[in-house]
């Protein structure tokens, strides 16, 4: 017979730094061990509660919701005692509401300073007086519990008083004295005292396990996580760690044995569990704002009908639009979603006001809508008429079913893209409008990957910081946990990687992979509620002032049925808006992007030649190679194009068939595209027989397998979730059976299902792709007709896009756009286009220059005129000495050095020297002390900076080089006869070639079976490299870390595409400095004998010391 024990106290990894298993792992293990219920009681939060409830449901056990709260007793604002822990368990819906409010309150004051580290959450004991209903309180853990902690410290009187107070708050029915057996020295004495005290209080005691991991093997990770949380090493945090592995989940029988002296306390755990029937998957009780409003249906219909006449005036689509509108309105009313659409409409109207404030009434940007819909909502005519989308779904023949169908069980997704500046202001305004208690951003959990694990655990193991960084540097985000050991071997040597602490590091990184590390803010997901949100999910302040985050991530919010609106900041929208403003400023032309021709042959010609660097979506290496084969000729083609290079279509095997069919059709317009089954032809005709868009999955499931719309949407949702493989497979049988019942052979049914399943990676709905395709076209149009302004705005919006600023600048220079370096007498804070259409780099690009200093330099120039010389700059600008030195190092003072040197390479050193002796402004507590404008003395004769020194100075100071391409300095030193990006074009395919270049991008897509793609740049253009897995394995360090490489390989030319399939690669070193002395990476064997390797400063020379520093990889600062 199973012992009558239920685990009422367990922590998952959502106790951040104090739990080492996922809720799913705990639930599955509990079911395996024969538990009937399991409580999750993470510290001070409910981040994992919905995940726990869902996992328990799947595992067939009852979930119990709870939290271990950190509580403080204060009298008149003064703490009267140390904080202590209480375990709160939810008995019913009132209790859940109270717990959400208590957790919210505990976090309320954790962010006194925006953007600083948060304070620990703390709940006042008085708050429990008001919100104890529906909660069962256990007295807390053995170390920090309200009673046990005081007993440990010998504070018996305080423990007694606190116990009595807690009985007063919760009553004898809902307060229990908690007994734990962590196998610490005084367990028996403590439990005997606690048991006796419970009798004196007249309440039962209850046994709990304080579980921190689902199995013992995770105990090592739990130790390391505690050390990370306490910012120490494993050694230094010994008192804070658990000291043994007994906090792994144990079977009910084992737990009963552990508490053999307290059998009633074991039985009490099961009796309490019987009372704790609240189930988050069933009892949440959420409604979105407007869901109960009886006037919502007519209100929405009135808005849409009024706008239909205006939008479709004189258009042939009007009749069809009116028909679709009535159909949609009817479905929306039937689903009770009118309030949902009105809410979005309301938000968009708010966005219009915010946009007007941000852009200014007279701005060229006023012609633009405040934001754009993306996602499947773009297929709805209601969304089009309410302004949520800017794509006409009738004209675009967009399929509604993915967005709305009669069987949907959750509110549909509506994503809105905004320029970054509008989004920043809109989020706090939404909090204001709906009340901060009714709106919040969604959480996102940063999870451990190999690199973060190596950094965190390397530190707690006390390994040398330089080696940790070197190891972290060669790990990439696609690394699987299994490869950590190999990567470490490469970074520090195989023998050393197998030694003591390094081996422990590999093991920890493997175990931690995928566990949540900390909670942060989702990029734009926001949830709204009719009743206070804090009654259904705890809310806490975000790092950014004015923002609040719900404790659930997007999956948990979806499981809770929350209305989620995605307000996304899209860098390209901001860049396009900036470009329009710049065009108006420089050329006096007012451009309305919604009215530009969508059939501009120059634009398509550029797209077909893949001249798309810097434009939206179709600028990546993979997209460019595709463009020259697909040769898009219309917005519809671009819609497919942006959706094609996505994990879903790639894994679903859509790319090559699409290309083949497209090329066949071009060669022979009469070519018949093959389909797996005739029922698929109408669905897949636009995408030439392949599944490219998300809704095609739904349509295929409906047409081929006879799925209902709701069931097909269920399949699509299963594909989009991170915990989904089992869910997708559950649909397989029905799919194949349905398809065969409709005449498909088993082979075809299975093949199509595999295509559908392959699509489970990320893919776009057509409507989303249409919105992105349009932005891709608009940005290409700007590139073709207004390239300086587009470049300028891209530079100002960094980081964004595929290319670092350095590459954008070099590409523009090859297109004969003049780029001018920062200049204190010509630059603004941001980059600007000058009347000559040259792009002037802004002072804001100077690394380390504070924004206030840059503004001061520009403002004073506007007030008092151009700076005459360095002393004038130092005296008038108010910039600090450090700021002036950074400006000089960036060459921004080159023009105001003494005559003869001005504007030359000879200027930089004298400028630095003179600014060093010139009196600069001083910051004092009273403000800024402006320096007197004494003339700076002449500098002594200083050696001119060498070419490499100038390049290094440019990269260090602005992340880009304008005058000299670094490859032009390396080229004379190259051995052999490497080809250039120009000469390669003259060679036939399959030629063995050598080439060299600066690395611009490295990619190792998860969908590419281990192949690495690299993009090199030389003085003339770019070169694509393909690195097969065996070559990557041989040259991993060079592939991942070298800024300049020399490669040997086979030239592969196909049409307008050219790649080098690399056989060998080596790192190129900077030619003008002596190379660092590189010692063998493998340490001598005897060094390892009998040691664990910690603390040994190895003598391996830093391989990077002789390389140019500060090569930019997409980050501005």
């Amino acid at each position: 017979m199973t012992a009558p024990y239920v685990e009422l106290h367990s922590h998952s990894a959502y106790s951040f730094g104090d739990g080492a298993s996922l809720p799913e792992e705990l639930a599955l293990r509990a079911a395996e061990l024969g538990y009937s219920s399991l409580a999750l009681t993470d510290h001070d939060g409910l981040w994992g509660s919905m995940e726990h409830a869902q996992a328990c449901k799947s595992a067939g056990i009852q979930s119990i919701t709870g939290a271990e709260m950190t509580v403080i007793d204060r009298t008149r604002g003064q703490a009267v005692d140390e904080p202590f822990h209480l375990t709160l368990l939810v008995e019913n819906a009132i209790g859940y509401r109270n717990l959400c409010r208590l957790v919210t309150e505990a976090h309320r004051d954790t962010r006194p300073k925006p953007d600083a580290e948060p304070l620990a959450p703390l709940l006042h004991l008085d708050s429990l007086e008001e919100r104890s209903e529906g909660l069962i309180c256990l007295s807390g853990c053995a170390r920090d519990g309200a009673l046990a902690g005081r007993w440990e410290r010998g504070e018996i009187e305080r423990a007694t008083a606190l116990g009595r107070r807690l009985v007063g708050i919760f009553g004898r029915e809902r307060f229990r004295v908690e007994l734990q057996r962590p196998f610490w020295r005084h367990d028996r004495a403590r439990n005997r005292w606690l048991g006796g005290f419970a009798e004196r209080l007249g309440v039962p005691s209850v046994a709990t396990g304080n579980v921190h991991m689902h199995e013992r093997s995770r105990a090592l990770l739990a130790d390391a996580l505690v050390a990370v949380r306490l910012h120490g090493t494993l050694e230094s945090t010994e008192p804070g760690r658990r000291g043994n592995r007994s906090s792994a989940m144990a079977s009910p029988a084992t737990m009963a044995t552990r508490f053999a002296e307290h059998p009633d306390a074991v039985g009490e755990s099961a009796r309490l569990a019987e009372r704790l029937q609240f189930d988050l998957t069933r009892d949440l009780g959420y409604d979105y704002p407007g869901s109960e409003d009886p006037s919502a249906d007519p209100a929405l219909a009135a808005i849409c009908r009024a706008r239909l006449g205006h939008r479709y005036a004189g258009m042939p689509e009007r009749g069809e639009a009116a028909r679709r509108l009535e159909e949609e309105l009817q479905m929306i009313a039937k689903l009770g979603l009118s309030g949902f659409f009105l809410l979005h409409y309301d938000i968009l109207e708010l966005a219009r006001k915010v946009a007007a404030e941000v852009r200014g009434r007279d701005s060229a940007r006023m012609l633009l809508p405040p934001g754009r819909g993306r996602g499947s909502s773009v297929s709805s005519v209601v969304c089009y008429l309410t302004g949520l989308s800017h794509i006409d779904p009738v004209k675009g023949e967009l399929f509604l079913g993915r967005f709305l169908n009669e069987q949907i069980t959750d509110a549909p997704d509506i994503d809105l893209d905004f320029p970054r500046d509008i989004r920043e202001r809109l989020i706090p305004r939404i909090h204001e409008r709906y009340g901060s208690e009714r709106s919040a951003l969604v959480s996102a959990f940063a999870c451990y990957r190999s690199r973060s694990a190596v950094r965190d655990f390397g530190k707690v193991l006390g390994l040398p910081a330089g080696e940790i960084e070197r190891a972290a540097g060669i790990l990439d985000i696609y690394d699987r946990p299994e490869s950590v050991e190999r990567d470490l071997a490469e970074a520090i040597g195989a023998q050393r990687a197998r030694s003591g602490r390094w081996r422990a590091l590999s093991a920890l990184a493997r175990e931690a992979w995928g566990l949540p590390r900390h909670a942060s803010q989702h990029p734009g997901g926001m949830i709204l509620s009719t009743q206070p949100l804090i009654d259904i999910c705890p809310v806490q302040p975000a790092a950014m002032k004015g923002r609040r985050i719900a404790q659930w991530d997007k999956d948990s919010c979806a499981d809770g049925g929350f209305l989620k609106i995605d307000l996304l900041g899209l860098g390209m929208l901001s860049a396009v808006e900036r470009a329009i403003e710049e065009i108006a400023r420089v050329r006096g032309e007012s451009i309305d992007l919604s009215r530009i021709p969508l059939d501009d042959p120059e634009v398509y010609s550029a797209i077909q030649r893949a001249e798309t660097t810097g434009v939206f979506q179709i600028e990546s290496r993979a997209q460019m190679q595709m463009l020259t084969r697909t040769l898009p000729e219309s917005i519809e083609d671009l819609t497919v194009q942006v959706a094609l290079v996505r994990p879903g279509p790639i894994q679903g095997g859509a790319v090559h068939p699409y290309l083949r069919h497209k090329e066949a059709l071009r060669a022979d317009p009469g070519y018949q595209v093959p389909y797996e089954h005739p029922s698929l032809e109408p669905i897949l005709a636009d995408t030439l027989g392949t599944i490219v868009f998300q809704e095609q999955v739904i349509q295929v499931a409906m047409a081929l397998a006879g799925f209902s719309p709701g069931k097909a949407e269920g399949l699509r949702r299963a594909m989009s979730r991170k915990r989904s493989e089992a869910a997708i497979l559950a649909y397989r049988g029905d799919f194949i059976e349905g398809a065969m019942a409709r005449g498909a052979t088993q082979a075809v049914a299975e093949k199509v299902f595999e295509q559908v399943r392959g699509f489970s990676g990320f893919g776009f709905p057509k409507a989303h792709a249409a919105a992105f395709g349009l932005l891709a076209y608009q940005s290409t149009w700007l590139r073709v007709h207004y390239m300086p302004e587009l470049l300028c705005s891209l530079l100002n919006e960094q980081p964004m896009g595929f290319y670092p600023p350095d590459s954008l600048v070099h590409e523009a220079q090859r297109k004969e756009i003049e780029i001018l370096r920062p200049d204190v007498n010509a630059s603004a804070v941001d980059c600007i286009v000058e009347p000559s259409l040259a792009v002037r780099i802004g002072l804001g690009y100077v690394n380390g220059l504070k924004e206030g200093d840059a503004q001061a330099v520009v403002a004073e120039r506007g007030r008092g005129g151009a700076y005459r010389d360095l002393a004038d700059l130092a005296g008038r600008s108010g910039a600090s000495r450090a700021a002036l030195e950074r400006l000089a190092w960036a060459g921004a003072c080159d023009e105001i050095v003494a005559e003869g040197e001005a504007g030359t390479a000879a200027a930089r050193r004298p400028a630095l020297w003179r600014l060093g002796v010139a009196a600069a402004a001083q910051r004092t507590p009273q403000g800024e002390q402006i320096a007197l404008p004494f003339a700076a003395p002449s500098s002594p004769s200083l050696r001119e900076l060498g070419d490499w020194e100038l390049v290094v100075a440019d990269y260090e100071s602005t992340g880009m080089t304008i005058d000299t391409h670094p490859m032009s300095l390396i080229r004379p030193q190259l051995t052999g006869e490497p080809e250039t990006s120009e000469t390669l074009w003259k060679l036939p395919t399959d030629t063995r070639v050598e080439a060299a270049g600066m690395v611009v991008a490295r990619q190792r897509p998860a969908t590419a079976n281990g192949i690495v793609f690299m993009l090199l740049e030389d003085e003339w253009a770019t070169i694509n490299l393909i690195i097969p897995p065996p070559v990557y394995d041989r040259h991993r360090m060079a592939v991942r870390t070298a800024p300049f490489v020399h490669v040997i390989g086979r030239l592969e030319r196909r049409g307008a595409n050219m790649n080098i399939v690399v056989d060998a690669m080596r790192r190129l070193e900077r030619p003008d400095l002596p190379l660092a002395k590189v010692r063998p990476i493998e340490p001598p064997a005897e060094r390892e004998t009998g040691r664990d390797g910690a603390g040994e400063r190895d003598e391996i020379a830093d391989l990077g010391v002789s390389l140019p520093a500060a090569h930019s990889f997409g980050r501005r600062r």
Binding site: H186, R188, A189, A219, L220, D223, L234, S246, R501, A504
Partner: protein
Amino acid sequence: MNPDGIYWPLPVAVRAGQSGVPVTVAGIGVEAVREEWLVEDRWWTPAPLSRRYFEVVLADGRNLVVFREPAADGQWFEQRA
């Protein structure tokens, strides 16, 4: 640590029952086991710790702490309580 210090553990002969709980210490019967605890630590070093401690009351009235050290071939040690 000072090997001569009063808390320094010294080897001792312990006879344990089937569950691993001491029955005699240096030939003297164990009257009661007051506490039992575990230390599993320093797993990241060449000398990981894995000890099961017992605080016992012996038939001669002494109160002692004994532990078994698997890393020392299962040798038992005694310490002052």
